[in-house]
Amino acid sequence: MQDLSRADLAEQVIPSLQEIQERLGYIPREAITWLADKLHLSEQEIYGVASFYNNFRFTPPGKHHLRICLGTACHVQGGDRLLAATSEKLGIKPGDTTSDGRYSLERVACVGCCALAPAVVLDDVVHGRTTQRSLKRLLDSIDREDRKAKKSEGGSQ
């Protein structure tokens, strides 16, 4: 890294942060220190960049990551009401993770599924034409699967 210019090193910041988040699901404090050291930049510089961009999170995501799209088409079709209901149901605000670590909830600006609005993204799978009922069913099915997995895990031990 020594022979790289400061500009070359700076260019690495965002791709590196993206890779860290890809692997860990978030940007831990230690990763910023590590990256600052590696790229010969200050921690402030790294955090300054990281905190500017919406995609980076600094707390671990839940086991299931639910993103509710609030693009314009989704807003017009009731995406904000879906978010309000889900936020109430999970007992967390957008951006937070439930205390049992099972769900994290996020609002997202647009996932490009506007034609089938409102859209939600659960664990990277996009679901279009979401209704209050279909979203409840989706979450209920995840709950059931998790319970089943837990049970079989308990049984095999």
Binding site: I14, V49, N54, N55, R81, A109, A115, R129
Partner: protein, 613 residues
Amino acid sequence: MNPGIESEQSILEIRVCRGTGCESARANQLLEALNKEVADKGLEDKVRIKTIGCHGFCEQGPVITVEPEGLFYCKVDEKDIKEIVESHIIGGKPVERLFYTEPATGEIISKYEDIPFYKGQKKVVLRNCGEIDPGSIDEYIEKGGYDGLKKALLEMKPEQVINQVLKSGLRGRGGAGFPTGLKWKFGRGSKSDKKYVICNADEGDPGAFMDGAILVADPHAVLEGLIAAAYSIGADEGFVYVRHEYPQAVDSIKKAIIDSRKRGFLGKDILGSGFSFDLSVKEGAGAFVCGEETALMTSIEGNRGTPRPRPPFPTDSGLWGKPTCINNVKTLATIPIILRKGAEWFASIGTEKSKGTAIFSLTGKVKNTGLVEVPMGTTLRHIIFNVGGGIQGDAKFKAVQTGGPSGGCLPADKLDLPVDYDSLTQAGTIMGSGGMIVMDETTCMVDVARYFLSFTQAESCGKCTPCRMGTLEMLRILDKIKSGNGEEGDIEKLQEIAITVKEGSLCGLGQTAPNPVLTTIRYFRDEYEAHIRDKFCPAEVCKALIKYVVVPEKCIGCGACLRICPANAITGKKNEVHVISDELCIKCGACFEVCPPKASAIDKIPAHHGGGH
């Protein structure tokens, strides 16, 4: 004629759309089921299954087309696959129940070219979308792909290419409408040992998906355009800056780059022309402002994506201080066909000042949502009512929004406005990148204005005070109005701050952020006044001004509302009338949605009118 395999030697091509819309409707499962069914029946030699990018008619997704007849199956379910294979592929009898039914006439239409949604369009830039397998460079080449580039590189000087683009009249499709050829000319004219080209695929505009769809459906067209741009201005390095929120688009363009390099369209001495150029992909990290060209470059350099003043323009001093030419995805995707068919041909489409076609993602309360391309100058009415099929549930049209957070809302009396850069600007909105959101009487215009402003306020990078503080102050006033605490003078205050924000901001974000507020005041002032004076939301959207109640005479006590209510605000025994607690209700409308239509016992009423309005 028997279109099945019984007829001699006809190989059917089954195309499965995997655009974002169809994918969200589980197109991947369809594809799996189709592959399995074809393999199980040993039909691999008789049919060819191919995946395509966005076919356009997302509303009808998942979509499957069968070629060469051009048959169109819509809303296909995994369960339908067996029948398609057995009846259509083996038996030669297409599955009629999966054909499209035109709602207006009840007519069943088998071919997509006969469906009004497609008939009302002119596919120029989107010609390959839904036609070719985006993962196959060969299919792109078969359709004449890279021919334009060959011509440019081997037969034309850079200046001639620029002249061709200038003559075509192509204007930037990112929204601002700057003449593309002129931008290239400036890039060419800048003297430097190093120049860059960038494809701006940071489609941050919420409610728009055109650029993402093109990258997924026809990535080589974008590459071909970008390589031609690089040749024209004399750049040897380029970037595609694409939204991280579009994983499909990222994969698609990355694969296209690899394939293109293998065929010698990228790299050293391209096609033996002596011209060398290569490029890489940069993923955005979720900042709307990075769609602005100077902020985008700052972001590639690895910094907080804040814009900087222009001049100097990027064509003089851009990425790392070097001359840089930035073009939108659609602009670049238009270049190959201009090179191939000529500037005159392209300029014959459209209006005097806006040449070619306009691409929109048509969404909102319109029947036929999807990806749409029409000649410039087409009226809004044609797009919304002919292509779009009118308003969902035959409700009343209220407004159409173009230009995203930088644009505005136009009312019904502007429906005959031709869609081109200048007409839309005159009406107070902008062409924008292609988001077109249709609204009906259930959309509150104050709420829409507030929605956009909350977006731009959150996305303001904070560099310019008028944008940072002005949008926040405007947002506060809108919140006040929406919550029923609006006062006389608030509208004027909004207008006054709007001017400051527009005039005192460096980049397009701040300069245009007030537009949704200004246009809604201009065209829907009465709605603002109803909120302020009567504490009444005509569209029944603003939460503080409505409440949900159970109509006792209608309630059948089924418990559907009680079970879905996330706030436990509903009580009532089975078969008895249910009651909603005003204190606990969060007004998410879940009860309203699930109440069985035969009962329709949940009512939305004005909050301050005690039920009697």
